[in-house]
Structure formats: C-alpha cells, structure tokens
C-alpha cells in the first residue's frame, strides 16, 4: 500500500508488522507494502522477460536481421571445423603438466596489510585466488577483494606505458631523469624530495625508505590513505601513551561487545575474526553453548546482522554510551557520564553479562569512532581481565605509524610554500581521495617534478608529470605483514603484463643502484635480516632477548618462506602494556541535535581503488543489495519525516559543501543520520567505473573524516535509478529463513522441523532414483553466514561468470550463480537481519528437468542437475519452473570473447557461455571430476572434504559444507542429520540436495527486547 505519490506508507507498515502473529520475514519495504510496482514486478514472474528493448535497433530492423540470420544459419551449418594449431614448449619447464594447475603462495594486499593466499596458475596464467590454509590471517578463506584481484590484474584499462606529460617514454628515460635528481639530492641532502605512500607494512620498503631518509636527511616520507586507522592509533596512545595494536582472540570470548565496530567485515583481521567468532556459534557440533554478541552501530553492518542484541545509535552517541558503560564496569579512570544517554537501558544488563565472564569477553571499538571510544574500550578490557587472554597488544603492524591526515596536511603546507621540488607518489589516488579541506590537487601544481606510480590512469596521474604503471601485487616481488604481523614474501604469478614497476624499483631509482629489480631488493633485505627471526624487523624495537639467531642457510629460509606463503614465527609477540594513570578529559559533549553524516568505505569499491572492477561493481552490497552505485542511506522514520522515497535525488549540504545523492531507505539505520560510501563518482578511471555513483569525498573533511553533525538534507525533486537486486528472484513470501533462539533449541530441538512440512518420500509421480557411489549434497549454516558475499565472487571467478552491467541488472538479468538473500524480521526501526546464500538446490525431483523440451538439463548419476550448454535452445522453461529462482539466462553475449587479456584469466576447465543458453550452479562439477579422476587413478575412495566447491573453500565462516551424503560419516551427512537442518520449500517435494541449518541467536534473558 502506498500513499498517492508513490511514497511508502510507513505507519501502515508498522501496524502490519505489529498486528501479525508469529514471525514475518520480509525482504524489502516495497515487498512489505505490496506496492504496485512490486506487484507488477512479481506478476511478470520473470523480470527478465520484461519488454524493455534496450538495443537501439527497432522492430522492423530486427525482423530484417532475423530473416537474414535464419537464411544464413543453414549455410553456416555446412562449414567444417577449421584446423587448429597446437604449440608445444621448446624446453618444457620441469613442474608444469599441461592441464594441471600449480598453486603458488603469495598474499593479497588491502591497505598495505597482507592476507595469505594460494593462487591457481594454469601454465603461467593466474586464474583463481584461494586462501592459504596455513596463513594465520586467512586459514583458507579470502575476502571479496582478493577474489576480484584476478580481474584487476587482467583489466585492459590498466595503464600500460610509462608517460611523461602524456607522451610515451621508456624506463631508461625515467631513470636518467632520476639520476640527475639524485645528483641534486646528494648535494642538498634531499631537501625538496618528498615521498607519499599509503600505509606501509612491507619490511623491505620500510628499510629502503629509512635508508633513503638517512642518505638524504632533509627528505621526508609522508603517508596518507583515505581509509586509514588514525582514530585507533590515537586511541591506543591515549590509553597507553604509546603506539600499540590490539589483536583479539574471539575463539576464547563468551561475550563480545562491538562499539560501532564492523569487525566481521572490515579491518585487516576480519577473516580470522569471522572464523574464530563463528566457531563459537556452531551448536550443531559438539558444543552446546554459543557466544553472545552485542552490537551498537551507527549504520547497518554485517556484524550488526550477526548480533544477538543490536542497538542503532547515532555515531556521536557511542562515545556517551561507552563512558556510561565504562563507569558501570568500574574502570580505573574517572569519567563523566553525559546527562542524556541514549541506550541507557542496555548499560546495566550488558555490564552484568560482561562481568559474568571474567577474562572471556571482548569490547571492540569501531575503527571510525573517535580516540576516546578506543581508549575506553582498552580500559574496559583491562578491567574485565581480558588483556592477555582475549585481547593481546603488540607493536603496530605498520612500519611507521603516523597520523595520516596530519602527515598529508604537513605535506600540502610544504607544497604550497614551494619548498617541495620532487614528489613521488607511490600508489593510492590522493588527488581523488584527499579530504576537501586539504587542497592536495591545488598544491600539487606547485611541485616542479611529480612522479606517480599507479595501476590506472586516474585523477592523480592526470596532474603528475611522470606516470609509471604499477605492477599488480600478483606481478610483484614484495613483502607485507598480516594483521598479526606475520610476514609474507609476495612472489609474482606472472611477469608484469604491461611492464609495471614496483615501489621497490622506484626506490632503487633514487639510489646509485638504479637498476636493482624488486626481486633483488626483497632478497637482499631478507638475506641480511633472516637470522633475526623469530622476532625482528623495525630493527630497533626488538629486544635483544628474543633476537636469537635462526639456524643458518638463507636459501633454505627463502625457499621455505616462499613455499609456505609466510615467514615462520614472524608474528608480532605480545607486548606488556600499562594503562596511563588518567587521560586528560574523559567526557563527551552532549549528543548533538540535528542530522549527522557518516562516511564509510564502500563495501566493494572500497576507497575507490576497485572502481574499475566489474565483479566488485556488480556484487550486490550487503544490506542494500545495490550494485553499480552508492546512495545516501537513511532510516525509514527520517525518510518519512523528510518525505523522501527511494531513488529520489537529495542534496546533502555538509559544512558548507554539497553533493547530490540518491536516497535509499534502510531499515535498521539509526534516525537522524545519513550514511554515504566513499569510492564512487570517479572522474577518471577505466571504462567500467566511469560515471558510477556520486563522489562522497566532495564533502569529506579531515575534521569529520568518519562522521560529523551539521548536515542538512533537501529534496531536489529529481529521481535517479538504482540497480538493486533485492526483489529479483523472489520466492514470493514462502519464508525460506527459519530462525530461533538457543533456548528454543535446547528446550524443543524439533522446532525447526515443525516450522515447515516435509512430505513423505514416496509421494511423487516419478520413480525413486537410486544413487550408488557418491551423492553430492551441501549444507549451509545460517547461524554462521555473515553475508560477506565472498561465495558469490569466488563462484564468479571459478565459473567464468559474466558481468552484465548496470542496465541489465536493473531489469533483473544478473548472472551470479550463488546469491545471498537478505531477510528482515521484526519492526522497521531495528529488524533482525538474516543472510541466506542460495546456490542451485540440485533437487532430486528437479522441476527444471521435466520441462526441458531438448533434455538440456539432465539428472546425473550422482544427483547433480547437469546443465548442457550445447543442447540448450533457450526456451527458459526451466527457469520458469524453478521455485528457487537460481537459473540464469544469457540474454545477450555477456562474456567478453574479444579482449585478449580477459581470456587469460578464465578458468580453462569451465565453458565460457555464449548468448541464448541457460546456466546455473553446477556444484563446481569441474572440481568434482578432477578429484574423482585423481582418486580413481589411485584406486581409492574420495576423502571427505577433498572436494571443496569454490563457495565452500572461500567461506571465512565455514558456513558451507559440501560432500557425499551417501557416506554416513561425512561432515555433510552428519549435518543433514542435525535437528536444525531443513530444506528450502521442501513442501514442494523437490527434495533439495542443498539444505540449511536454521539460524540461532543467543539473546540475553535479561534483555527481552533487543
């Protein structure tokens, strides 16, 4: 129901949600309101069948072409297959067996921090990233960025040549110019030389920089990264008077409190934290108890969706809450509690629950919260006895922790004064991403010699004299530290495609050894340092007691470190810290009235560096399910007050600056605040990222880097169209999510089964199939799934799934084989959120199979619903008949069959689909067959867990389990025997092979309303 102008009638929705008996799971406001547009969308059943004709070709022209094509199709059938050449090696490399991939250990970098990965390499071409099971930050999982890095590597829009003033130059021309500069630096001690990097954890680069600074004492090194961790660093200094990093052991924590921290989906340790956190929520395994998660948050996040109790607060109100809670817990510091305290009902029960579990709780401060919140969290962890048990402090992971906004401001001040002669920018995109109150771009014009090392020809390269293409991390020799300090030496998987250079090579250009390769640089550094392991690096800080000599062969160390993907024992050891006596002021200004603006890195485009990555652009963002765009996220009540609707363009005026953004109403968002994501609105990037979204940096200042008050919103009266996938593939209110509490489960374990009905097995017209040997099945644990989307993008990389583009997503034609559906339960203000990954169910009585007129989808002997592309004629009956809506049709030629670089990145074991065929999840049948052949050859059974589908392998939460259900001892068979197991829409007698474990929450009995 809607009011006259298409606006949602929120009071009606509220009444509907309160009146209802039993739990209602809903996907979107439009669905709940049953708006006309939504009804229309459903009525068409297939949004894909919409009559929108997006081609510029008219009907008449279409018929012409069709006629001609039909006539010519007969002729085309007469051609013989052309002869194909086959080209063997001249000298075969020893390890390569054609058709068998090799895996090399390296790392994926985000904000300079490493995540250990193994990269699949087909005859010299990296094709797929997997997590490194032995790496402490990965344990076999990866995030969406690591998965998508393959596409960035092969991106044809990357810069491909060295340019000076836009003209192509050679590397030697650059080196000779640098040689002159080096002569100058030698005389003037480097005054006028400035280097701007992002966060650096690389021990080699740090030592090169330090060497440079000691050779040229007047030179300076600045660091700036738009998504930095300044508040965390400042908070640690406030609490301890020194730079330290906190590391959490979530596997030991019974109660976790997040003070606006999205620790399950952002930050360098997220994969490990997800693994450790969800391990404590799997009650189906031997444990009976679950951990409990309290989340206060200023914008809905995946961590909030996992919470047992969630409290939406304005970002500025978190400080006050933290003060009150700290006082209640009795921390050693004197604090002032604000008079008016939002969320005050939480303080008592929360403090009691925390105190009930001494040394087994964690208070995690949000990275974007002010230093005070961080300091208070440190103090609370001290008081609760967590330090040394669930919280560990170490030296910082960064090689040189600095306040990055201050660092950039200082650089810009010097640039403006004209004292900077040579500026080298290593990566990043500071022209685009600098805060507006630091005029980096203007100041850059005053620098005489500007050199930019970057992956793309972007906003920064436009303003620099020299642009050196940067080597991608999969093309580079370098090193980096993980969240816990573990060092990985990165090795290249392929020679630089476009002659890219690394930061190490640029650093060498500033010395007398200007031709030193990055391999030599990294190797040289480690050959001088490896004996200082365990514990070393950042030399001066390591104490002599732990600097024992490792036993000696460098070659052995080097080979082992490269093979394993990390340097053994290089994690930073715990460091004893003591709280300062009493930091100056522990109070907060009372909550500010009015609207607040919150900045967040985009969940997929991040700070803008992935703007040209089609996989990430098209990946539906958690919660909003938006693709290809960012939006101004507001709460339903605020939207109602302002009279705003979805997709309406609004003007955000913030501290004297303005930006226009489409509004998006997000249930669970705190009132009176607006969230916008950074990274969109790129003015200069590749073909994919141009023109998507609006630029949130246009209103971001260093003073209000993460949030600030004083926002005003006004309607422009115009609308824009957003590509949102949340209505697509609807199962029409059949309530596929089942959830309960831990208490329900213990009291009445059958509650899940009783929520639906399971018809008897023989109630079918079709004869029962027998599966001898293997029968593949999958279980997805909804209690563990955090909705991180890694499965979707891993599947895309593994199965050569095409990107369709914004227009096609709007009409519902996205191709993802596994989607993550998001369901809400409860009211508009603070609903519980559930994520449900939906791959093909591989039904035993598959509705798709019986309707195919050409037998293009057939049942395999092991129970898979095989899809045969070369038989498919595109009737789409199968997709029509699939109750789960998991089939995807190639309406157009979505795969790029032309671009040579993109061909290199494809999985050679999976067909690249053409126009006019249906496709869907295959349970990664190419992986099944590979393992099956291996096992058959060795004359043994397939071991449980030997086959991992791409989605299972990537999942940090281990929420997906795949295996042989005919083997009663397999993990998947045991999970299916669990009481929590249920089949989606099993009342339809489809007998899905993919089943789910119901989501369990563990609420505090003291807090009935969450």
């Amino acid at each position: 129901m809607t009011t006259g102008n298409g606006q949602l009638d929120l009071p009606y929705l509220r009444a509907k949600l309160t009146d209802r008996r039993g739990q209602l799971y809903w996907r979107s406001l439009e669905e709940l309101a049953e708006t006309d547009a939504f009804q229309e969308f459903l009525y068409r059943e297939f949004p894909q069948q919409s009559d929108r004709w997006t081609d510029p070709i008219g009907r008449r022209r279409f018929l012409h072409l069709m006629g001609a094509s039909l006539a010519l199709a007969g002729l085309a059938g007469c051609t013989k297959q052309p002869a194909e050449p086959i080209m063997p090696y001249v000298n075969a490399p020893e390890e390569i067996i054609p058709g068998k991939p090799l895996f090399f250990a390296t790392a994926a970098l985000l904000s300079g921090v490493a995540e250990g990965v193994l990269v699949e390499n087909h005859m010299g071409r990296p094709t797929k990233v997997e997590g490194n099971p032995e790496h402490p930050a990965s344990l076999g999982a990866t995030d969406v960025f690591a998965q998508a890095s393959i596409l960035t590597l092969y991106d044809p829009d990357r810069s491909q040549t060295i340019t000076q003033f836009g003209e192509i130059r050679s590397w030697s021309a650059f080196l000779s110019e640098m040689r002159e500069a080096v002569q100058r630096f030698k005389q003037n001690k480097g005054s006028g030389l400035r280097i701007l990097t992002e966060t650096v954890t690389s021990p080699t680069l740090a030592s090169q920089l330090k060497k440079l600074l000691s050779d040229y004492p007047s030179a300076k090194w600045h660091q700036y990264e738009p998504v930095g961790r300044d508040p965390a660093r400042a908070g640690a200094r406030l609490a301890f008077g020194t730079d330290v990093a906190a590391r959490y052991h979530l596997e030991k924590a019974n109660v976790v409190l997040s003070l606006d921290a999205d620790f399950l989906s952002t930050g360098p340790g997220k994969l490990r934290y997800v693994r450790d956190f969800t391990a404590r929520r799997k009650v189906h395994q031997s444990q009976r108890e679950m951990n409990r998660l309290y989340v206060l948050e200023s914008t809905p996040s995946n961590t909030g969706a996992m919470a047992d109790h969630r409290l939406p607060l304005k970002a500025s109100e978190v400080e006050g809450f933290a003060l009150a809670l700290a006082a209640e817990l009795g921390i050693a510091w004197r604090v002032e509690i604000p008079a008016k305290l939002p969320g005050s009902t939480w303080v008592g029960p929360l403090a009691r629950d925390l105190k009930r579990h001494p040394a087994a709780t964690i208070v995690i401060p949000g990275e974007h919260q002010p230093p005070l919140v961080h300091a208070l969290a440190h103090a609370m962890n001290h008081t609760l006895g967590n330090v040394g048990s669930t919280v560990i402090y170490t030296e910082p992971v960064e090689a040189n922790p600095v306040d990055q906004f201050e660092s950039l401001r200082e650089l810009v001040r010097e640039m403006q004064s004209g004292s900077v002669e040579t500026l080298l920018i290593f990566g990043g995109n500071p022209v685009f991403a600098a805060p507006v109150d630091i005029p980096f771009a203007d100041a850059l014009a005053k620098v005489k010699q500007r050199v930019y090392l970057g992956l793309y020809n972007d906003e920064t390269s436009e303003l620099c004299h020299w642009h050196i293409p940067e080597a991608h991390s999969l093309e580079s020799w370098t090193d980096a530290r993980a969240y816990d300090g573990t060092v990985t030496i990165l090795q290249p998987l392929i020679a630089p495609l476009y002659g890219g250079k690394t930061a190490h090579e640029l650093m060498a250009a500033l010395t007398d050894q200007s031709e030193q390769s990055s391999y030599e640089g990294v190797r040289q550094y480690w050959s001088s340092q490896f004996t200082r392991i365990p514990v070393m690096v950042s030399g001066a800080r390591s104490s002599s007691a732990v600097c024992q000599k490792a036993s000696g062969d460098f070659e052995e160390f080097w080979r082992k470190s490269l093979h394993d993907g990390f340097v053994a024992n290089s994690a930073l050891p715990a460091k004893p810290v003591a709280l300062t006596a009493q930091p100056a002021v522990l109070r907060t200004d009372a909550t500010t009235p009015g609207l607040e603006l919150i900045f967040r890195p985009d969940p997929h485009v991040y700070d803008g560096q992935f703007a040209n990555n089609g996989w990430l652009q098209e990946l539906p963002k958690p919660h909003t399910r938006l693709t290809w765009d960012n939006a101004a996220l507001i709460s339903p009540a605020t939207a109602e007050r302002m009279g705003m609707t979805n997709e309406e363009l609004v003007e955000l005026r913030f501290q004297g600056r303005r930006v226009e953004a489409p509004a998006w109403i997000l249930p669970g968002h705190p009132d009176d605040s607006v969230t916008i994501h950074l990274g969109y609105g790129r003015r200069r990037t590749g073909r994919v990222g141009m023109g998507a979204g609006f630029n949130a940096y246009a209103v971001r200042t260093s003073g209000a880097a993460w949030f600030g008050s004083g926002l005003s919103l006004s309607k422009t009266g115009r609308r824009s169209r957003l590509a949102c996938t949340q209505h697509h593939h609807s199962m029409e209110g059949r309530h596929p999510v089942r959830a309960g509490t831990l208490e329900d489960y213990h009291r009445h374990p059958d509650f899940v089964r009783e929520m639906g009905e399971e018809p008897p097995k023989d109630l079918s017209l079709y004869p029962e199939r027998k599966y001898k040997g293997n029968a593949w099945g999958m279980v997805i644990d909804l209690s563990s799934c955090t909705g991180c989307n890694a499965c979707t993008i891993a599947c895309q990389a593994e199965n050569n799934i095409a990107v369709v583009g914004r227009e096609q997503v709007i009409i519902g034609r996205e191709m993802h084989w596994i989607r993550v559906d998001r369901y809400y339960a409860g009211g508009l203000e603070n609903p519980a959120t559930y994520h449900q990954p939906i791959p093909c169910m591989q039904c035993e009585n598959a509705p798709c199979e019986v309707v195919c007129p050409v037998n293009a989808t057939a049942h395999s002997q092991e129970g898979l619903n095989d899809m045969v592309y070369n038989r498919c004629v595109g009737t789409r009956y199968c997709a029509n008949n699939c109750p789960y809506k998991v089939r995807r049709f190639n309406f157009l030629l979505y795969s790029d069959w032309e671009t040579p670089s993109l061909k290199l990145g494809r999985n050679p074991d999976v067909t690249v689909r053409s126009r006019g065929v249906m496709e869907k999840c295959t349970y990664c049948v190419q992986r099944i067959n590979a393992v099956k052949i291996e096992a058959e050859r060795e004359g043994r059974e397939i071991r449980d867990g030997e086959i991992a589908t791409a989605c299972e392998a990537v999942c940090p939460a281990e929420a997906i389990t795949f295996g042989n259900i005919n083997d009663p001892n397999s993990r998947v068979a045991q999970l299916k025997a669990n009481k929590l197991n249920y089949g989606l829409l099993s009342e339809l007698q489809t007998r899905p092979r993919t089943t789910y474990l119901a989501a369990l929450k563990n609420p505090n009995p003291e807090m009935k309303t969450s």
């Binding site: 297959q81 002869a83 090696y89 395999s860 898979l864 190419q926």
Partner: protein, 216 residues
C-alpha cells in the same frame, strides 16, 4: 469442362506422395551419412604438418614407447605434444643436417614453438581426460588406431559423441589389461566380453554417461 488430366495421373500422384516419404527419408539418411563421414568428422584424413613426422618409423621401426614423447598421458588430461627438446635429444646426433628437420632445429635455435596442426580436435565443451582412460585399461590404439602404421597421423575414429557413448555404455567390449595399454599390436581376444567383464570388476570401471562427465 473437359478433364485436363487423364485418370492414370491419379496413380502417379498417389505414387509420388507415397514416394516422397521415401525420398525425404532417403535424404535424411544421406545427410546423416554425410554427417558421419570422414568429410565432416575428418576421420581418415591426414593433416599436413610442418615436419613430416612419421609415427610408423619412430614407433614400429625404432620401437619407441608412446610415453617417451607423450609424457603426461598417464597423469593429466592431455597426452602432451613433446617439446622440441625431445626431438633434439636424438636429432642433435642423428640426421642432424637433414633439411627435413630444419624446422625442428630452427625452433630450438630461436626458442619458438613448432606450429603443429591438431589432428584430434575435440569440441571445446568436451573435457576429455587421457589419464583416467589409460589407467582404466583403454589402449591407445582403441581410439587412435594403429598409429604405428601411420606415416602421417590421421584421426582413426569419428570422435563423435555416439562413438564416445558406445564405449561408455559398453566398456566390456573395449577394455584390455593395463599392461597392454601401450601395446600397439594388441588384438582383442576371442573371449573379449568375458575378459572385459572381469576387468570391469577388477578395475572398478563405471559406466559413466551423465552429461557432466564430459561437459562442464
């Protein structure tokens, strides 16, 4: 109005209608025959190669085992075309000045691959794996014919799906003992069906006819 056609034309028209069924059926048979013929499948057609490499000479006369060159046949999907280095192992010593072998030496000198023409070219959506067939007792000559008698290699079988399925449905007709897989001269014994059934038990051979066995 007088009759234009004589009465007898009725018979002709009936005959021609009746005959049309046979003509159409005949045409279909012709089309299917063409489709299975060497013209379409290229079976039995020798391909021109940059170097006229004779399997007959190397296999039958010299007695070189298949696996000396096709090294990965037991371990990987592809049997592998040997690298130039394999040719040069011998031909740096013998026939080292032969003009016929100049492309091989040129390849070795310039570090450039020899551009052979593919003889057995499966469609891109069929994912055949040599190693599993070889390990389950399917001999080289079962699919490739008597390569030891081919001066220039041609495709022995049609490589069409029905040909694959024939063996996948009735493996007992073709399977041989593992130690005979690389024996070019192996002849199926008279009691092949009995032997085949025994080997199926022994080697745990499954009759895999699901689509995803080969198509992904």
């Amino acid at each position: 109005m007088p009759q234009i056609f004589h009465r007898s034309t009725n018979t002709f028209s009936k005959l021609s209608i009746f005959g049309a069924v046979f003509v159409i059926a005949g045409l279909l048979i012709v089309v299917m025959a063409i489709n299975r013929s060497g013209y379409v499948t290229q079976a039995g057609v020798t391909r021109e190669q940059p170097v006229p490499f004779s399997h007959q000479h190397h296999v039958a006369a010299m007695g070189i085992d298949c696996r000396y060159c096709h090294t990965t046949v037991e371990n990987a999907a592809v049997a592998s075309i040997p690298p130039t280095k394999t040719c040069m192992n011998c031909h740096s010593q013998i026939w080292s000045a032969s003009p016929t072998l100049e492309p091989v030496r040129a390849s070795f000198r310039a570090d450039q691959s020899i551009r052979w023409t593919k003889v057995h070219d499966l469609p891109d959506f069929a994912y055949f794996n040599h190693s599993i067939h070889v390990n389950k007792g399917i001999g080289c000559s079962t699919c490739h014919g008597r390569v030891d008698r081919m001066p220039l290699v041609w495709q022995h079988a049609s490589l069409q799906m029905e040909w694959c399925l024939d063996c996948h449905r009735h493996p007992e007709r073709y399977v041989r003992p593992r130690d005979q897989v690389f024996n070019m001269e192996y002849e199926a014994p008279a009691n092949q069906l009995i032997l085949g059934k025994r080997l199926i038990q022994e080697y745990k051979i499954q009759s895999l006819t699901s689509c995803s066995t080969c198509h992904r």
